[in-house]
Each structure stands twice: as structure tokens, then as C-alpha cells.
């Protein structure tokens, strides 16, 4: 049985889900012992601990220039001291250039089989990856497990299947027969899906696997060789993915450097060297807007970016205001506001919000919102695990500075005790009231747990501002609460024009921060928050070119 045959069932189901856009998950997000095994968690944690302070020797990349790594745990505020093999960009490119010609000749089916097999191998390491993610990104345990493990694997599977489908969208050959009156002109035609060449995937510090695997697997399924350039602060989670891909390549008699890890250090970053190299044709990037825009402007390359945005919540009318406040408080607390989908700007009419039981004033909502944030932070069984730790010192500084941006401070940021990690870098949300006229304050991304309650004239102004922010500064998510169908359609339509998906009236255990594989297009590509989407057809079709040859039938 080939690897493709082994995984064909999953691929078929995934393609169906991709089109139905109904729920599908090939990898279970529940880390329960009943699912992954009694000792899986402990084993993963032990494996993670065993790597600390050592060389990461799993990669099949020979002759490094040196070994290095500067990861630091936001929970321990200590260096992990893991050393990775370091290569010059020249060596990385040369190897990618050579192995491209091997990989591009592997059939789409065999590529799909190999890539699926690598995900199955990674599945056995989900817990190890979870601890690696916690101690590089600061994510809480549950998010670290889900986002870096099963959800990332599902997104990778989505990219594999989307690519596999596009590669098979047109026939590899056909007879073209044109009636010419007295005879038929016949041509044998054939079409090749030609990969673009070398692909680099530039990772971020907060979601080192979830945001990178789509580019890695999307480029690999379409036949490109891939260089994975992780953020120097979050290497280990994606290093494990790359190591497993390399092992499966080797087992199938292919050169493991078809997919390489390109570790660098803060003092000697090689991202620009790689990105600007003429042999590099594809670039995937997750990160800040200025670097993303620099990449987008590089000539002669195909670029996929997820940058930053200003996410809005429009509050018009609700059934149960307490449930709404609780849901939104969770959204800003979750991973201390470090998700690209976290809300920042909450637009509330000056005369308050209509509810099933009467009007709730602006101040009353602000009080409920603050109370719910505090309630979650101060719940020792939930708060520390939902908020996690702060990945970057600068985020902590930004949260403190935010108190002075101008406007009533409804809630100051503070610290709390994480029972497992006394030394964790933490910050609770700061909540500030800002007038709807002060775009200079709220018209930019304030990354981290920073929530702005923006007082607007009415819901029409709220919609207008949310749309303008998305069109000018980008937006990846939007929350909206309204019980009025006309207002709802207006929000849906106006935010559509800003290419921003809207989550309406979420309460309970579902949050605007969440995007599901196979169903939600993550980032639309239609506003400045990014030019690509997980995983619409463009996300894979741009990674190869259809080339047709033809010859008269003999």
C-alpha cells in the first residue's frame, strides 16, 4: 500500500469538507488521556524537558556553520538554551535549488502521501509540541496543545488537500479535435502543474506552527522546495514538524533538504537575505505590517502575508448583556490579547445598548465588561490558564503605556500569580474609554491585552468606523451584536466591503478569536491585514503554473 492509499480516506473527507465548509477535524483537539493515551502528556513533557540545554540533533541537515538559539520561556523568563544547526543563506538556497528538481518530479499523489504521513508522525508528538509552544510563545497549556498540535495539523491537511485538488483540477492530457469541414484537426495536449521553485516560510513568535504549516504544506504539495525560517524566539515547535517531514522524506528515498529549517539569531537575522535572493520565488510571512509590506513590494516573487489589523466589536442590541460581556471579556483575556483575531476596538453608542430587558448605558456595559475581565483573571482555576504569559517584553511595556493614551481608564493592567510559574511574564487587560472622534488613538493596532471602549453617536457611526479601520489598517475578525435584522445585514454588507468576516451574537463557549479549518477562511486577503487566506484556491494555485504543450496526433 502506498502512503497515498494509506491516507486517501482522510484526503477524500477533507476535500469534501473544504467544499461543504461544514465541521471537519482529522486531529482531535481534546488532549484527554482517553484520546491520546494515558502517558502521552507526561511523556511529551519529559521529552520537552530532555531537549532543554542541548543540541537539537533531529534535523537531516549536514555540516552546519555553527549551532545557536535564543529562545526564552515567558513562563520561566529563562533561556531554553537549545542549540540548532545554523547555515548560511547561500548553503540553504543551494540545497533547496538542488532538491527542488527531485521533489518537483514526485507525483502529486506521492507528495500527498508523504506529507500526510509526516502529519501522522507529528501527531505522536503533540504534547511535546504543546510544551515547546508554551515555553516559547507564552500560550496557556490548552491553547498551546490545540493551536500548535491538532488545529495546526488540520490546517496543514487543509493546505495539502486544497493543493492536491488544484493539481488535479485540469486533465494531464486530452485530445483536442477541431472540425475543419472536410477533416478534423487533432492535437494531443498535455498540461503540467509546474512548481514555482524555492519557497520560504517566515514564522512568527506567537503561533509558530499554526501560522506556518499552511505555507509549508501548501508549497510542498505543489512541488516546491521549502526553507522554514522560524522566529528566533519560537523555533522548537516548528523544528519538530520539519524534523518529522525530513524523516518521512528520507524513508521514501528522497533528499530531506527538500524541507529545511533555517534558524537564525536576533543578532544575525537572515530573513532579508533569503527573501531577496533571486532563486526564492515564494514567500509566506506572518508578522508585523512594515516587514510584510516590504516583502509584498519585492518584485518578481509571489508573496503570502498575514500582517496586523485593528479588530472591532460593534455593540448595537443584545438579548442578554451579561452573556455578551462574559463572552467578550474571555476574548480579550484569551492568551492576553496576543491573537491576531483578538478584539481591540469596542464601538458602543453613547446612549447605550438595547437589551431584551431595557437599555444598558455605556457606563453600565463598561462596568459589566470590566467585572467579567476581573472575574476571569481572579479565578485561580481559569485565569492563569486562559491568559497564559506575555511572549514579548515590549507587549508588557505597551500595555502599561496604553493607560496614558488619553481617555478614562476603566481598568488598569496588573499582574497575577500563576500557581505553576511564579516568574511568568503576565499582564491583564487594560480597558480605556475613547471618544469616537479620536481616530488618532484607536486607528492603529495596539498589540496585546488592550481594549478600547469607543463611544459613538450611534450604531451607524460604529459600523462606519469599524469599516474604515478595516479598510485602512486591516482587520482579521469582527464581532457584532444586534437583534435587528436590518442592522445585521447592514453590518454584514459594510464589513464585507472591508473584506472582514463578522461573528454575530456570540455567547457561551465560542469566541470571535477562533477560526476553524475547512470552514472559516482565515484572513480574507482583501484588506491590509494580509494578502492571502487560509485556504482559498488562490492560496495554492499561486504556488505553481499551468503549462500546456501540444503536438499533432500522428
Amino acid at each position: 500500500m502506498t502512503l497515498f492509499e494509506k491516507h486517501q480516506g482522510t484526503i477524500t473527507k477533507a476535500i469534501e469538507a473544504l467544499h461543504a465548509r461544514t465541521f471537519y477535524a482529522a486531529f482531535v483537539e481534546n488532549p484527554a488521556p482517553a484520546v491520546y493515551g494515558e502517558t502521552a502528556d507526561a511523556d511529551g513533557q519529559a521529552k520537552f524537558k530532555s531537549i532543554l540545554g542541548k543540541k537539537f540533533e533531529e534535523l537531516k541537515q549536514a555540516n552546519p556553520t555553527s549551532w545557536g538559539g535564543q529562545e526564552e520561556s515567558p513562563y520561566l523568563q529563562e533561556e531554553l538554551k537549545i542549540a540548532y544547526p545554523i547555515f548560511t543563506s547561500g548553503v540553504l538556497i543551494e540545497r533547496a535549488k538542488k532538491t527542488f528538481h527531485q521533489w518537483r518530479k514526485v507525483s502529486a499523489q506521492d507528495r500527498a502521501g508523504i506529507l500526510m504521513e509526516s502529519l501522522e508522525k507529528v501527531k505522536a508528538r503533540f504534547f511535546e509540541i504543546a510544551y515547546a509552544t508554551m515555553h516559547t510563545t507564552g500560550q496557556g497549556y490548552m491553547m498551546a496543545f490545540q493551536a500548535s498540535g491538532p488545529h495546526a495539523a488540520d490546517r496543514a491537511l487543509e493546505a495539502i488537500t486544497a493543493g492536491y485538488e488544484e493539481l488535479n483540477r485540469f486533465p494531464s492530457s486530452a485530445i483536442w479535435e477541431k472540425p475543419m469541414g472536410k477533416f478534423n484537426l487533432q492535437l494531443n495536449k498535455e498540461w503540467r502543474a509546474v512548481p514555482k521553485g524555492i519557497s520560504i516560510v517566515i514564522g512568527c513568535s506567537t503561533f509558530p506552527t499554526w501560522n506556518s504549516v499552511t505555507g509549508i504544506y501548501g508549497s510542498l504539495i505543489t512541488g516546491n522546495s521549502v526553507i522554514v525560517k522560524p522566529h528566533p524566539g519560537a523555533i522548537l515547535p516548528i523544528a519538530i514538524f520539519v524534523a518529522e517531514i525530513q524523516k518521512v522524506l528520507l524513508e521514501n528515498n528522497l533528499d530531506p533538504t527538500i524541507c529545511q529549517l533555517a534558524v537564525d539569531t536576533f543578532d544575525k537575522m537572515i530573513t532579508k537575505e533569503l527573501a531577496e535572493h533571486p532563486e526564492v520565488k515564494l514567500i509566506d510571512f506572518t508578522g508585523n505590517s512594515s516587514f510584510g509590506s516590504y516583502l509584498e513590494a519585492l518584485p518578481g516573487k509571489t508573496i503570502f502575508t498575514e500582517k496586523t489589523g485593528v479588530n472591532s466589536v460593534i455593540l448595537d442590541s443584545v438579548d442578554d448583556v451579561d452573556k455578551v460581556a462574559a463572552n467578550l471579556a474571555f476574548s480579550v483575556n484569551l492568551y492576553s490579547g496576543q491573537m491576531c483575531t483578538a478584539p481591540q476596538n469596542f464601538y458602543i453608542p453613547a446612549d447605550g445598548i438595547k437589551t431584551a430587558t431595557g437599555h444598558v448605558s455605556f457606563d453600565q456595559f463598561a462596568e459589566k465588561f470590566v467585572a467579567n475581565i476581573n472575574g476571569l483573571v481572579d479565578n485561580p482555576k481559569a485565569g492563569p490558564f486562559v491568559l497564559g504569559a506575555v511572549q514579548n517584553k515590549k507587549t508588557s511595556e505597551r500595555v502599561i503605556e496604553a493607560e496614558k493614551i488619553g481617555g478614562k481608564v476603566w481598568l488598569k493592567s496588573r499582574t497575577f500569580e500563576n500557581p505553576m510559574f511564579k516568574n511568568a511574564r503576565v499582564a491583564t487587560p487594560v480597558v480605556i474609554e475613547v471618544d469616537g472622534s479620536k481616530k488618532e488613538i484607536f486607528g492603529k493596532e495596539l498589540f496585546g491585552p488592550i481594549a478600547l471602549l469607543i463611544k459613538t453617536k450611534n450604531t451607524d457611526q460604529s459600523i462606519e468606523l469599524a469599516q474604515e479601520m478595516a479598510q485602512q489598517h486591516g482587520a482579521i475578525s469582527c464581532g457584532a451584536y444586534t437583534t435587528n435584522e436590518v442592522v445585521k445585514e447592514k453590518i454584514a454588507d459594510e464589513m464585507s466591503l472591508a473584506a472582514t468576516p463578522v461573528s454575530f451574537n456570540l455567547v457561551g463557549g465560542i469566541y470571535m478569536n477562533q477560526n476553524a479549518a475547512f470552514s472559516d477562511f482565515h484572513v480574507t486577503g482583501g484588506n491590509p491585514s494580509g494578502n492571502a487566506s487560509f485556504t482559498n484556491p488562490e492560496y495554492v494555485t499561486k504556488r505553481f503554473t499551468w503549462v500546456g504543450h501540444r503536438e499533432p496526433v500522428k
Copy 2:
């Protein structure tokens, strides 16, 4: 019956053909009276003549700033003196901005029906368009009829169906139901295909409808408003298309300025004003590389370009060298080498070409090639009609200058008499021998009837040069002649890496210049000759954005 229902059968067949990539033509390319009617040709010619010297008053665009037009017939070398309504870019944009919001709300089915209906109306004017095309581009009658009429209409249909299919690729709604253990989380999800906004389509002087209708219909089917900016030298053919689109829009109670014609004059071109306007989101362009590259670099826009290239023919081994020489001679004579798919560089090994009856030396092939060119030019029943006239004076100058580029001149360019148009601007092909080392001579596009016979060391060098030219300067077509399967696969593979389609061993009545709708991807988008392809999925998906909204099921 809705317009969609009326045309549904054609759309269904076209979608099938798009995927099977077999022969399909909805519009008959044969201008015979039996097909289009006994008086169709004479009527069309009369209609064309009746427009000369007058205002073109068919457009539904009110209040022009002025009337103007500078078209000139390459056959008569006289001005056509047709005056078109002229508008400022500000007026054009304002109207497009307003009508965008009307058009985007029309369903995909209704849009498809309206656009199909416009093609049916255009069909009744194919002969008029043919004469308009002859007397603006200089194309021969048959090409003018086929390329601007039925072939353009087929390409437009291809864009409509490709767009229609992509708009229906994902469901407009679905219930997403996630098992959460004790209960299922249910979300109503909906997805909208949101058009990008205002689209401009910039035409060229040689194929004013064929190269523009894909962008026009591709943008319209996906819900964008369109401003058609024709080349000032070739307006009338596409003006007729736009007029018919506007009439059908009006008949369906829609604002006809959903699709506008933006005529300008050589002394006051408005292309840059339109292209740089922030409200313009989509740009289609056919034309020279420098303007195309300027457009591609405009930030925040989606650009589709067809620029220029250096097309190669690789001669290795043939069955019948005379048939090959005849076929290639036709290719360089056809429309006096003014097709973007015309061959320029002919790579021939210094020791000649293997044939079924022995070796043919480089010089012997050159002689046969020249003899075949002359034979066709000097055939009064074929030559004038195959060569047509030269659109631009500069092309005639370039052909004369080409004699001095360095290298043996095998054939000088000359004129000939067109029996119907004594004053036609004509130029026959110039044929020059160039050494394979002289890339400075053959490493650029020499637009017009200029053929370079490049003497290479062997076929390997021929392939290497053809690939290098395509990768560095772009290529839209490639011809190759070989009877050796190993050589054939090498050419197919190496040219694939340069994203260039290869026509192998063409003899008889099929030429490398020709690209068929529904089967051949015209331009691959993978080399510098252009960044887009007629019509791969990207060609339409980039014209809209998928945006998904969601809400808990009540």
C-alpha cells in the same frame, strides 16, 4: 424565461469544456454566408463605413466633456475621423463607484445571463467589428473577423463561465456543527463573494477586443464595475462590445455605466490617472513591458498583465523539412509578425537539422525558410491577406533598422501591393542570421516581422537559450521540432520551468501563434511576459474576496 435560463445550456457546455480542455467554440469562426447570412458581410461593411467621420453615439454615457478620436486605418493611411464621447477620469470613477453598488448586488446568475446576452448581441455585429478591426489594427480580413469576433466572444464566454464557476465553488451558507461532548455547537455560516470594486481594462492597438474582453467579462461576472480604456489607435471594435453591454444593462433596468468606455487621445492619455486612482482596485493591461511593470508595482491593486516576450523555435530533427519551413514561414508572415505569439528566435544547430531523408544544413534550412516566406508573400491570392498591414509606423521603422543589427541578412524586408488597398502600410519579414553567442542582439523583443536564425552549437544550447530568453525576457509561445522522444521531453521539461507552452512538430494548417479558448491557457503568468493567464482559476478568483460571516443557531 430569465436570461440565465436562456443561456444556461451554453454555460454548462462551456464549464465542461473548461475542465475537459477539449475543443469547444460557441461562436463559429467561419464567416461564410451559410453561417452568418447572405448579406451579413456586406451589411457589416456598410455599417462600418456609415460610422466613419461621425460621432459614435451608441454609448449610454451622458454629458461628455468633449468628443474626439484619432484612429487611423493602416490600410488607407487615413484618419477614420470617428468622434467618441470623452470624459474626465474623475467623472468615470464617480460613475463606476456609484454603479458598483448596484451591480455587486445583482446575483451571479443574473450577471451571467446579462453578459451572455451581450455576447449574443455582439454576434450580430461580427462583420462590422471585423472591418473596424482591419482599419484600426491592420489585421487581414479573416484574422480580423475571427480574432475580434467569434474567438474574442469565446474568450469572453470562457471568462464568464470561469467566474461563474468560482462564484459557485463554495456554498452560500452551511450549518457548522461541532461535537463538544455533551452537546453540539451549531453555527449558521454564510459566505459572500465580494467584488473588489472598480476595474479598469487597458487595451492594446493590435488585438483591441480579443485581449480586452477577458478582463472586461472576468471583472463584470464577479461583480465589479468596469472602465474600458482602449488604445487611442484602436477604439471602434471594443466600443461596439461596450455599447452592446450597455444596451443589455439598460434593458434589464440597470445603470449602463456599470461598464464605461474611457476614450482618450494620444495628446492627453488618462491611463495613469485611472490606474493610480485609489478607488481602482483591479487593472487589466495588454501592452509594452515597461508600462506593464509600472502597473504591476502599483501598491494595493490587483494587476493582470500581458506584456511582451521573446518567442523561440527550437529546430532539432524533423520528418519533412519543407513542411516545417512552410509552417514557420506562415507563422512569421501572419499579421506581419504583430502577434504576441509570433516566433522571433529560431535556434538551429551549426551542423544543421536531422531529417527523415538525411541532414539539412543551417544554410539549406535558411534558404528553404526564405523561399517559403517569399512564396507566400508573392502569392497574390494569399500574401496580402495573410500579412495584412502594419499597425504602427514605428514597427515599419524597426523592421528596416533590423537589417543593421549585425549578422548575415538572409532576407530583406520589402513592400508588396495589396490589390484592395494601394496605400496600405506593409512590411514583409526580414530574416537575419545571428550567432548563438550574441545575446545582446537576440535577447530582447523585436516586435514585427523580424526573424532571427540563431546558430547554436547543438540542440542542448538551443534549449538553454530558449529557456534563458523566456525566463529573463518572457515568452508566450515556443515551437519545437524533434523526432527524438528524449529531446522532446527535455524541451517540454526545460520550457515548463520557464513557464512557456511548447507546440511540437506543427505542420500544415495549425500554427504556434494560435491559442484556443477553453483549452490553451494563453500566457501562463509564470515568466516576465505577463503575470496572468486566460483563463486559469486565478484570473477570476483575484477579482473578488471570499468573506464568511457566522452566528450561533438559535
